[in-house]
């Protein structure tokens, strides 16, 4: 009955299993990181090296490709457009989505289920397709080929996530905290700003970043809706056919790097956000 004698053989039989387990974790990590590493190798090599054969698996740390990217006509403007569209999407989707998330988490009201259905429906819908009629509509309203017009479409993409994520964040704040604030002299609004907002701010930031990434990465609508004011994704897509390959890789690198940082910034919230959003 002593735990020592029973534990010892058990650990012995488990050792190989544990090694297989560790190896699989490592293998899967390499599977994820390897391709990104290779992109970095290409980006940090001179254009000549990128176009030569065979390839070295170690980067030269030459900034030639990135310099070429920066000088390429229209590329920096496209990068700027991407940032502007993503920032607008971030602000709009939170400003519009968060109140609805709050309503879903705090109130029982007639039509709540219908509203949730509308939100879920948008999530299960090939949204970029909506860019097609909007292209016509935007020409009529003067929004065509503007960053704001594209940000509107990207906000439509990001809003279901913003609503569901803020819904789950607000649900994590006990309503009693708000009620306590009401009994201590707060109105609904001051209770929100003094109690709920400080508690929820990190989570809101995370979901704002998530909205940013959605817009940053979107290709189809961006390609449909912008012609002169292309975003980075739309610009790269257009140039895929004829651009030199070192330009593609440098562009890919610029696309990937912010994503790495963003995912790192929101990593804590990623799972909490999806936990309730599933229900």
């Amino acid at each position: 009955m002593t735990p020592v004698t029973t534990a010892a053989p058990r650990a012995a039989t488990k050792a190989p299993a544990r090694r297989v387990y560790a190896a699989s974790v490592l293998l899967l990590s390499v599977w994820v990181l390897g391709p990104i590493y290779l992109l970095f190798v290409n980006t940090l090599s001179s254009p000549e090296a990128v176009n030569s054969f065979p390839k070295s698996f170690i980067p030269q740390f030459d900034l030639g490709s990135l310099a070429f990217f920066a000088k390429f006509d229209g590329m920096l403007a496209a990068l700027g457009n991407s940032v502007i569209v993503a920032a607008m999407t971030m602000v709009m989707s939170i400003a519009i989505g968060a109140p609805a998330g709050y309503a879903l988490s705090r109130f029982e009201f007639r039509g709540k289920e219908l509203f949730r259905l509308l939100i879920l429906l948008t999530r299960a819908f090939p949204l970029p397709l909506l860019a097609l009629p909007l292209a016509v509509l935007f020409i009529r309203t003067g929004l065509d080929d503007t960053t704001f017009g594209l940000a509107l479409v990207h906000t439509t993409l990001a809003i279901p996530f913003a609503v569901l994520i803020t819904f789950s964040l607000f649900s994590g704040i006990p309503i009693e905290l708000e009620e306590a604030a009401w009994t201590l002299g707060c109105t609904r609004l001051t209770a929100f700003t003094k109690v709920v907002l400080p508690l929820i701010l990190p989570g809101i930031t995370a979901s704002a970043i998530f909205a940013f990434v959605i817009s940053w990465n979107e290709v189809f609508a961006a390609a449909v809706l912008t012609i002169e004011n292309r975003t980075l994704t739309a610009f790269l897509l257009q140039k895929l056919g004829d651009a030199p390959i070192h330009l593609k890789f440098a562009g890919g690198f610029i696309l990937v790097t912010p994503a790495l940082i963003f995912i790192f910034a929101v990593r804590k919230y990623l799972f909490a956000m999806w936990g309730i959003a599933n229900r």
Partner: protein
């Protein structure tokens, strides 16, 4: 302000926004799809679906989804269960495994292009190992299978992360006591996975599958980056109807076809993985 109206005021912005930029454009697409030469007809559908590329691109899109989604589900399930048993380094591993979540399909296409292009890393490695003596054209019309594999790999690489996140969150909701109870009753780790994790994970699996399947029909930029015109898919067809052919009616008709397929699959998944009322955690 009366609390009775407050929730409606709070959901008003989203509702208006979605009406303007989701429902209204959707109605416009639908209208345009049936509108040709000033009258309503199925002309656009006949035309686009009769075009020789339609059946190929539909077939390609389906095949790709069929190849990619099951692999992603199994891989995500494997990763999620591995992570759930991890104590040390869980955060780091999760971060690494979720990195592709932030990577666009275009970037993923470019990344895998770096591997598969003619002077790319795969050829470099194969010649280095002496398997071949000069770089082969991997992504060419000579190798349709290889193009397909490259696209599928890029999709699996990129989009497994979203499933992983949903499943890890779902597993986190399953109380540990169920596993302890099952262990006390003598269930092996495999049985615990089969009898407890999988059934209780159904809502999360549902969400993950719907999201993935719908996105799989939207596959576009990866294909453009890796296959160009060698591997036509539905979204690419829509794009070229809109721009190359300047045929908005045709694009709208194809968009409706994609939408119909998405909805059909969503309903199938909802039905197949439905959770009986009261059997939730």
């Amino acid at each position: 302000m009366s609390p009775r109206y407050l929730p409606y005021i709070l959901i008003l912005p989203v509702t208006l926004f979605l009406c303007a930029f989701f429902l209204y454009p959707f109605l416009l697409v639908a209208r345009q799809a049936f509108l040709s030469d000033g009258g309503y007809s199925l002309q656009n559908f006949r035309e686009t679906m009769g075009y020789w590329k339609f059946s190929i691109s539909l077939q390609n899109t389906m095949l790709l989804a069929l190849a990619v989604v099951p692999v992603q589900v199994s891989l995500a399930l494997l990763m999620a269960t591995m992570v759930s048993r991890m104590k040390k380094g869980r955060d780091l591993v999760l971060y690494i495994w979720t990195i592709p979540l932030g990577i666009s399909d275009l970037a993923a296409g470019i990344i895998w292009f770096a591997i598969f292009e003619q002077s790319g890393f795969l050829n470099s490695m194969l010649t280095g190992l002496g398997v071949i003596d000069k770089p082969a054209v991997l992504l060419g019309y000579q190798n349709p299978l290889l193009v397909f594999i490259a696209i599928a790999l890029a999709e699996i690489w990129r989009a497994t992360a979203i499933m992983l996140v949903i499943l890890v969150a779902g597993i986190g909701l399953i109380p540990k006591e169920y596993y302890e109870a099952a262990e006390v009753f003598g269930a092996s780790p495999w049985q615990r996975f089969l009898r407890i994790t999988l059934p209780l994970l159904r809502p999360s699996l549902q969400t993950a599958l719907i999201l993935r399947v719908v996105l799989a029909f939207e596959v576009f930029a990866v294909v453009v980056a890796l296959g160009g015109t060698l591997f036509p898919v539905m979204m690419g067809q829509i794009y070229s109807y809109q721009f190359d052919l300047q045929n908005a009616g045709g694009a709208a008709a194809l968009a409706l076809v994609v939408l119909a397929i998405s909805i059909a699959f969503t309903l199938v998944i909802l039905r197949a993985l439905r959770v009986p009322k009261g059997a939730t955690i």
